[in-house]
Symmetry: C2
Subunit: 173 residues, 2 copies
């Protein structure tokens, strides 16, 4: 055990740092020690969330919908006749930022704004037929590809358990 020439580096002597690897001459760097980062729920949660959104985008790519757009279409379908403020609020989107989102959906012919006869300030949001069929296609892609992949990785029990835990955190924290 010769630890002579090394400068005193803490007490938890880390082993050799670099290992040149493989026939292709690529020099790999030894994986770093994540330490207590692995015990930080928020850290892994964030990374999982990014991966999940990536997977969502890939699976739903045929209908060109982002997770946010998909959630808007779902809400419009389930809650016809609502205005922008109501939809934006329940999705946690601020009204100013919701304007451009709606512009994009409306310009693609997926939904429409129409002045409410009761309150001419507000716009009643409605899914178009194209919006409904697009939503139907998206739902199928989400169920068959995206959620299926998650269930495949986690297992059905854990997937269900995780849904509940994550909903509880979103609700009660």
């Amino acid at each position: 055990m010769e630890k002579a020439s090394q400068p005193p580096r803490k007490k938890d002597a880390a082993p050799a740092r670099r290992l040149s690897s493989g026939v292709d001459g690529v020099v790999a760097v030894e994986a770093l020690d994540l330490g207590e980062l692995g015990e930080l729920l928020g850290y892994s949660l964030k990374r999982a969330q990014l991966k999940i959104f990536e997977d969502f985008l890939r699976c739903v790519a045929p209908v060109k919908l982002t997770p946010a757009q998909f959630s808007v279409l779902l809400l419009l379908d389930r809650n016809p006749g609502r205005n922008q403020t109501e939809i934006a609020n329940t999705l946690g989107i601020l009204r100013p930022n919701f304007v451009a989102m709606l512009d994009a959906l409306e310009s693609r012919g997926l939904c429409t704004r129409s002045r409410s006869p009761n309150d001419r300030r507000s716009h009643v949001l409605t899914l178009t037929d194209k919006g409904r069929t697009t939503l139907a296609r998206a739902k199928k892609l989400v169920a068959d590809k995206h959620e299926a992949r998650l269930i495949d990785v986690l297992g059905p029990q854990e997937h269900r358990a995780m849904l509940e835990m994550v909903a509880k955190l979103a609700r009660e924290l």
Copy 2:
């Protein structure tokens, strides 16, 4: 129950939409139907993640560290002598974006950049004493306040289970 004067609104007779509530005269809007949004893991996961980061910021506010900064300090402590590319890569941060992060930490005296004698291109990153004590304070706040809160909401078993599931997703998806 007089609902006479209202104009006929669609056919799927949704129940009354607005309920004026409370003594303070605030008019609440009936909660919208989230539909299958509650079954979308990514949706709740994202909302949970935002709440967790909020809670982290609140708990760690006394030492003024963001989750990203905390993760950098943790990594520097566990992996002394590494350069910017290595630290940034393992945290999933792109090198250009890591520069400003390091500027902030270095300007607060929490870490230092020094040219490596072996490879004068790279900067060896080192935690300062102030960085170490700050990290120690942050770790205590995270454990005693932040993670404690999560365990309080989820329960110890579920908290542990969720850690593993989320790590699995981040790893295998």
